[in-house]
Amino acid sequence: MADVDATLTGNRGLALEEAVIFEQDSPGLSGVDLPQPVPGNDRLGGLGRSGAIGLPGLSEPQVVRHYLRLSRMNYGIDSGLYPLGSCTMKYNPRLNERLARLPGLGGLHPLQPISTVQGALELMDACAHWLKVLTGLPGITMAPAAGAHGELVGLMTIRAALEARGDARKRVLVPESAHGTNPASAHACGYAVESIAANVRGRVDVGALKAKLDADVAAIMLTNPNTCGLFENDIIEIADAVHDAGAFFYCDGANFNAIVGRVRPGDLGIDCMHLNLHKTFSTPHGGGGPGSGPVVLSAPLVPYAPLPMVERRGDGFALVEHAGDSSAHPLGRVKGFHGQFGMMVRALAYMMSLGSDGLRQVAEDAVLNANYLLARLKDTLSLPFEGPCMHEVLFDDSFLKDTGVTTLDFAKAMIDEGFHPMTMYFPLVVHGALLMEPTETESKATLDQFIETVKGLAERARAGDARHFKDAPRLTPRRRLDETAAARNPVLVWRPPPPQAAE
């Protein structure tokens, strides 16, 4: 950092430094005015807390300023292009936030009498209906809390169905390009995981898959479009082979944005697929959650779906909360209460806003935007697999060969240019992956600026200016952080500084 930029405060104009709350403690202050409780007998049975907790005291304006300053150290979709491949960082409509906060929705307790929540059950049923029609599958569970949770619940549903026919099986096949959650979910369901190689076209090697399919395979977990951004064009042949082996076809729906409204997974032979409402259906990622991961199911799996279930009864709705109230063989409960209702509100508002026509346009524009990046960057970057791609485009790092610049360095230089980096080093099937997913909510002007920036940086890398990349980012609240030190000596909670030792 050049001295000329040094300030007395460490602040740099609008870029303001901010200490953690524990360092802003004014003991006795509170940002909430509450009445003094009327003194009386306590019923804590001698188990009252003794001694201070150690929470800091701040007033409301200090708290608001603190979190506002922290927010300004973040990059969000609202800030600019966020082309994280496989994450579908699309615009999060503000209407959805308003609707989720309606007192008649956000203010509902999960255990009110069913007669007092008919509108909420109707909403869950409507959301389920849209998702079933869009995927062309007859059943759904709305219970899972996120995509990975949906994967696990889907696999558990498959396992329950297999066990019910006396055929538990032991293995799950997962392509090597899969998200890490896929093998982790299969393991959490008690299955051994076996990897399937990719072919030279970036798709599953169907021969290798068929060779591994036998009477011990419970399911295949495939992402389609896959994590190379490519549609598995042999998918129907794969589905037939999986079904012939008596196994189920699980599809990771993380990339559903590419085909929503244009292709129904049920038509591809898929039995089970989670939908990340926080990807395709625009609910906010919120810095890592909350998500929601409903799972759509083919007919043989429907009886084994987890609790609870919303059912139409006469002109109203019922909530099946216990196995004894169900005619099927439900898996059991996988989450407290009834799923991520607040996310269902947002997703339904999104689907109704776009409609069948708009959702189809979403897929088309998402795919168009990604192919536009592919077309305009393929001569600058290196493309491991020929297009067309679907909603995301994968490059590898061979364009950086002999420049001394890595994929990571390149991404950090993108940050200084005002872009969030693309997904890096994933999928693992190519070296130094750069996976870009622009989504449909980016304008052509934004994409053009991004393209010119990538081209300019690639030229700079090839011109031998590795220093520029190694030093990046320079313009962020913090520059590169020492992750090794953080892991070697984990400091996960704030502790007061030790008292100054007397000299």
Partner: protein
Amino acid sequence: MRYLPLTDGDRREMLAAIGVGSVDDLFVDVPREARRDGPVDLPEHLGEMEVERAFAAMAARNLSTADVPSFLGAGAYGHHVPAAVDHLIQRGEFLTSYTPYQPEVSQGTLAYLFEFQTQVALITGMEVANASLYDGATACAEAVTMAARITKRKKVVLSGGLHPHYREVTETMTRFLGIEMAAAGPDWRGGEDLASGVDDGTACVVVQNPAFFGHLTDFAPLAEACHAAGALLVVVVTEVVSLGAVRPPGEMGADIVAVEGQSLGNALNFGGPTVGVLAARQKHLRQMPGRLVGETTDVDGRRGFVLTLSTREQHIRREKATSNICTNAGLCALAFTIHLTLLGEVGFARLAALNHAGAVRLADRLAGIDGIDVVNDTFFNEFTIRLPKPAVAVVDALADRKILGGVPVARLIPGRAELEHLLLVAVTEASTEAHIDALTEALREVL
């Protein structure tokens, strides 16, 4: 199509740059028989006003806790959330950011998660906490698998005071992992003996404080019994506000604490999303599931924060990870943290004291009604009463009078005659004297 910025002119130019005639040419890898030429059978797009009307109509078919006296609890509590919380979590930089994998542009998220972890460790009396899980029930299931990994044992004892959803979720999520679950029967009077079920094959005992039925227990003797047998004690807390008044699990010898944090900063949301979190002893850190934020420095020597110990996680370790969790409850954790920061030491204790004092007042009032027994000797802000009639019918009759009178135990544990007349009643700072009057009067009428 208000969310789509491309114009038809843009689309034409882009197709030309790509070198294809139409967007259909980009879908050539989809098998022909699976391509749909027209839209699916769903309604067409709507303007903001039309969508808003449709949702207002659905909302109007519900009875909101915001509009009537509510005494509902059982793991979800209607607390007052300060206005600043909801304003701040809707800052686009928080709301629309991803998991903080790029720390240089995510210091905001990382800093608040570090504060969250610290606050959770402080209020539970534990040494470390993670950066959130989905909810309390799944956190409980994760605590059990974590204990099984640490002890390399397979037997688990579940208290009859554990929330029935937590028990069911833990049973389902561990069903295929060879874990042997011994669940005690509903402990609605308190005082169950769990220690005698602990042996050298026990991975952990899972208890809840305050219990599902409201009573409080000193788990220090049970912790000792667990530790003597090489087992761990997992303590579940479904009402996090209780930690402002009640001795924390860490002081009772808990090894892992699974918390539902909804009460701080988060609306009821019909049960989700909420925020789960695990707190633990430092020595068990590497068996912990979920994300962890750690302090470090940048190349200029300034303090900053990063995601750390990610070699436990699925994106690095794949099938060998401690959990499959990826997305957690980041924004709900932010709401929790802002609310607790606003409260501070003094405010958190006072909030808890208000909740408790309100519950004591209501318990005394209800005890004065003929036919009602207050079951609990001890409680925080929720307790069990026995009614002279089945609780479901009473609650329905109260709902007809626009009062949400509590949660019948039979809603969660059906089919047991001895529980049919039991009702859980919760009080928070949002319950007014008028609400308490309304409930007691209405109960006199319907009983």
